[in-house]
């Protein structure tokens, strides 16, 4: 808090402000202040907003209106400033009260000028022969309604009388006899100016029938011209020549907004009587209007643009000698000091005489005349700026009932956007009861606040799943508060180079956002918050999420058919194809079974879907992916063994090769003797031919020694091919599809000493799947 300069001395503003504010409360009855509060922007910002406040003490009313224009940042000449238009508007109409005198002197006027009203529920607009002051507003025209009333602000033709006061229209009402009348059925409505004392304007309803029963009504309103100038209200007379009391009727006067009025019970009226409505005395009138801007900080200035000051019913006369007011103040101050401290009151008079007789009395007397408009800026060390206008009726140059003063203001900020500023804008009105001479003052105010916006607090770490899968959407939440209670937008950083900005949330409420990741990996989710004015918080703590992908392993034949239940290993774990395994992002080892027999076929691994023949292989899995092992499906001779009752499938003998290969196979099925022989079969089931050169059967004893069982016969269909199969030579048996070779071997060791059998085949099959 800085210091304020008062009479050349610096005083701490912290001491002065309470005194100043207290003085405002002591001097003026005031309303509670309305407020406008915005964070100070960092760039030019148009506001174009209006705020106001009003107060009434029941006699007068005061209003302040503030139009906030645009905030400018870093203007090279003026720096940072806000444009503001301030207006103060006051009136003293609330204290106006009409009284009724009953009965008054009845003096019927015969007037004959036609008003032109001949229709039911109709009216005309008449020019008044003299201004009429009604509830403090001066009128020059009046609307006359056939239904027995006058309205001064706009035309109404209501046929149903309403109670007075009543905020519903018609207002600005003078109602001598408001009921449903029908001039279309007869009678006349006439008017006329009585051009002799007492000068009056008369509107007369002559034998106008009730709409309901046709009973004739004759009455008139007489508006008396003001005898004493503008400061008095016109007296209004209601005269009743011939009326009936058969329908509800409103009699009285009402103000412009319908909140004040004076009515008279029509049941008390009688024929040839007069009711007088008048405002006693001159009432309360405005004397002075002031706009006062009070700031407390020293890093701001208030500049009232002097040639942008205007008003209504207020005298705006600039001083012809601007420094005259300075002299006037100084001399008055000096005189005041003399009067109060040195010599008493008499010396002040003497001092004045001394000034007047001097050579420069002309100049000084001019300077001593206070200008009617007194603008005063507030520099950085001052707390008060103001503009004051003398309230004067623009027509009569007398204290008016209403007055308005407006000024354009620059509110300038000197700090580098790091201080809060506020200014209280008061509208002050001084008014006086002209009848009693008692002065009054009222005030109302608006507070403008430009504060340094604080960003929201750091949001909580996002809350939500900590693991998941690629391409799956997950939802996370966070929350925080804004120091000023502003709405908050959140930005979620998903850790993958993308982010999401939410819509606005109220402060201290939970915000959510959803995201899916396209690659496996570990991601760190964090959030930050932004308030309505663009201030960002720091980033929240992060939440880690592990996103896995799906690694699918399939097995197919080369021709594209899927093979199921083939052993595959992913990172050493055994699975059966097809399998989808959730894996972390990164490198994984996938292995497919190298070969296997399925039914009558032999499958051997050939390659992967990417052409690689490396098995196992490395897979870099970042997103869902499928690897496929392709297998050769091979068809070689199939071995069947006699189990004592039938030939049963033993195995497929893989002699798939370009030339002779030897394959040994340990017989798994129980091989039984059929008489003297072991019987086996070689069958060819596919569409290709096996070229078989030699077959052998070994009986292996319990000691592991192999004993060759002699081949005694080999019969292909009806032909013996024993010799071709006995030796490893160039003589082969071509076993074509669907053919079978029946083999018989003699035991080489006793059956009960045989641990197992080994069948050996030599030959080749060039089939290539």
């Amino acid at each position: 808090m800085g210091k304020v300069r008062i009479y050349g001395k610096k005083v701490r503003a912290s001491i002065l402000i309470p005194i100043l504010l207290l003085s405002v409360w002591i001097v003026f009855p005031v309303s509670a202040s309305s407020s406008w509060s915005k964070p100070r922007p960092s760039s030019p910002t148009p506001y174009d907003e209006v705020i106001g406040n009003a107060y009434t003490d029941g006699i007068a009313s005061i209003g302040v209106g503030v139009h906030i224009g645009t905030y400018y940042e870093n203007d090279p000449i003026l720096g940072d400033f806000l444009t503001v238009k301030v207006s103060a508007s006051a009136n003293s109409r609330k204290g106006i009260q009409y009284s009724c005198q009953w009965p008054s002197t009845y003096n019927w006027y015969d007037v004959s000028d036609p008003t032109g009203i001949t229709e039911d529920n109709s009216g005309v607009n008449l020019t008044l022969p003299f201004p009429v002051l009604l509830y403090g507003v001066e009128y020059f025209r009046v609307w006359v309604c056939d239904n027995g009333f006058l309205s001064f602000d706009s035309q109404f033709t209501n046929s149903t009388p309403a109670n007075i006061p009543n905020t519903d229209p018609p207002n600005s009402l003078v109602a001598p006899f408001w009921r449903d009348l029908n001039p279309a059925a007869g009678g006349s409505i006439t008017c006329g100016y009585i051009n002799q004392h007492p000068y009056s304007f008369v509107i007369s309803w002559n034998n106008v029938p009730n709409k309901g029963n046709g009973a004739l009504q004759t009455f008139q309103v007489v508006i008396r011209e003001r005898p004493g100038g503008s400061e008095f209200h016109n007296t209004i007379f209601f005269q009743y020549k011939s009326i009936t009391k058969d329908y509800p009727t409103t009699v009285g006067v009402e103000d412009q907004v319908g909140d004040k009025g004076t009515s008279f019970d029509y049941n008390n009226l009688y024929n040839e009587s007069c009711l007088e409505c008048y405002v006693g005395g001159q009432g309360c009138r405005l004397e002075q209007l002031q706009i006062r801007l009070v700031k407390i900080d020293t890093d701001a200035k208030i500049e009232i643009l002097e040639n942008d000051v205007g008003g209504y019913n207020v005298v705006l006369k600039s001083s012809t000698n601007p420094h005259g007011s300075t002299y006037a103040a100084a001399i008055k101050f000096a005189a005041g000091q003399l009067i109060s401290k040195v010599f008493g009151g008499c010396a002040g008079i003497m001092f004045g005489i001394l000034l007047i007789v001097g050579d420069y009395s002309g100049i000084l007397s001019a300077n001593l005349s206070e200008p009617d408009l007194t603008p005063e800026d507030a520099d950085e060390w001052e707390i008060l700026a103001y503009v004051t206008g003398i309230a004067r009726d623009e027509l009569y140059s007398q204290p008016p009932f209403d007055s308005t003063l407006a000024a354009n203001v620059l509110w300038k900020f000197l700090d580098p956007n790091d201080e809060d500023h506020f200014v209280i804008i008061y509208a002050d009105a001084w008014y006086r009861n002209l009848d009693t001479g008692i002065p009054y003052a009222i005030s109302t105010s608006v507070t403008l606040n430009m504060y340094i916006n604080q960003p929201p607090a750091i949001p909580s770490a996002p809350s939500g799943p900590t693991s998941g899968y690629v391409s799956t959407t997950y939802t996370y939440s966070t929350s925080t508060t804004d120091p000023e209670g502003d709405s908050i937008q959140y930005r979620f950083d998903w850790g993958d180079g993308t982010d999401t900005t939410t819509g606005s949330y109220p402060s201290d409420s939970t915000a959510t956002a959803s995201h899916s990741w396209i690659s496996a990996g570990t991601y760190y989710i964090k959030a930050r918050a932004k308030d309505d004015y663009g201030a960002w918080s720091d980033w929240s703590p992060s939440l880690a999420i592990i996103i896995r992908c799906s690694l699918t392993v399939e097995t197919h034949t080369i021709s594209g058919y899927q093979i199921r239940d083939v052993k595959v290993w992913v990172d050493g774990g055994l699975y059966y194809s097809p399998i989808a395994v959730a894996v972390d992002g990164g490198t994984h080892t996938v292995e497919a079974e190298s070969d296997f027999v399925r039914g009558a076929f032999w499958y051997t691994f050939d390659h992967w879907e990417n052409g690689s023949t490396s098995n196992p292989r490395s897979v870099n899995a970042l997103t869902d992916m499928t690897v496929t092992a392709y297998y050769n499906k091979e068809m070689c001779p199939t071995l069947f063994v006699w189990n004592g009752t039938e030939y049963i499938y033993e195995t497929l003998l893989n002699i798939h090769a370009e030339s002779d290969v030897t394959v040994q196979h340990q017989i798994q099925q129980p091989l039984a003797l059929d008489g003297l022989f072991y019987k086996l079969q070689l069958r060819e089931l596919d569409n290709y031919t096996s070229h078989i050169d030699q077959v052998k059967l070994y009986a292996v004893d319990n000691g592991g020694e192999w004993h060759l069982c002699p081949l005694t016969s080999a019969k292909l269909e009806d032909a013996y091919v024993t010799r071709k199969l006995l030796f490893d030579d160039n003589k082969r048996v071509d076993l074509t599809p669907s053919e079978t070779i029946n083999l018989k071997f003699l035991p080489s060791i006793p059956y009960n000493q045989t641990a197992y059998f080994i069948f050996e085949i030599n030959g080749y099959n060039k089939k290539d799947l």
Binding site: H323, V342, Y360, K412
Partner: protein, 219 residues
């Protein structure tokens, strides 16, 4: 009310002499009452012109037009600083912020700056000039007359400063708002004249530096 005693009357007598004399002295010192000066020489410098296409939005211009006048007895630098053009302010409408900076000095120890006069003229009526009084910075100068005139006047504003204490150095900084109450198609032309009267030790001389600012309407 008590009666005046002899002591009071004595004080009053002294005061009746001191007060008028003091006031006379202060008026003379502050330049309000001046003796007529004879200007022995007037130098009017060539106008410095600036032109600007009226934009449809806020524009930070930050352009300085400066002039320096130097002779053996006097030096003056005059600068018109064109700040920013602001469009469509709800309160003061289109406006331009301007700064006026004048630094002057005399070389002769007996010389001094007599006064400085700045006047802003524009013939087009829909414009006004406002002095930004809280931004005035004066050194060895006092404001004698500071005026903003209604829009119908061709002289929109003027300021008259008087040198203080016969100082041979006087500086001023002033800020103004040039408010344009016209459509963007309207051109404006402001003439700013900075006039300085100085005393070189033997005679009063005057120099004047005109500036012309043109804002070209946008069709």
């Amino acid at each position: 009310m008590r009666k005046l005693n002899g002591r009071d009357l004595k004080a009053l007598f002294i005061l009746s002499i001191v007060a008028p004399v003091g006031i006379l002295a202060s008026l003379r010192l502050t330049g309000i009452l001046q003796e007529p000066k004879t200007i022995s020489e007037t130098v009017t410098l060539e106008s410095i012109n600036w032109e600007f296409q009226r934009p449809n939005n806020d524009v930070y211009i930050d352009k300085k037009l400066d002039a320096t006048y130097v002779n053996s007895e006097f030096k003056a630098t005059m600068l018109i600083w064109i700040g920013a053009y602001h469009e469509n302010d709800p309160i003061i409408f289109d406006h331009l912020s301007l700064g006026i900076i004048i630094n002057s000095s005399t070389t002769n120890p007996d010389g001094f700056i007599e006064n400085i006069y700045v006047v802003l003229r524009e013939n087009y009526q829909a414009s006004k000039v406002s002095w930004v009084r809280t931004d005035f910075l004066l050194e060895n100068l006092s404001i004698v007359d500071l005026k903003e005139l209604p829009e119908e006047n061709s002289v929109k504003a003027y300021a008259r400063f008087v040198g203080l204490n016969h100082s041979n150095r006087a500086n001023l900084q002033a800020a103004i708002l040039w408010k344009l109450w016209s459509s963007n198609a309207q051109s404006h032309q402001m003439e700013i004249s900075c006039e300085l009267i100085y005393y070189n030790g033997t005679a009063h001389k005057k120099m004047a530096q005109p500036f012309q600012l043109r804002i070209l309407g946008r069709s």
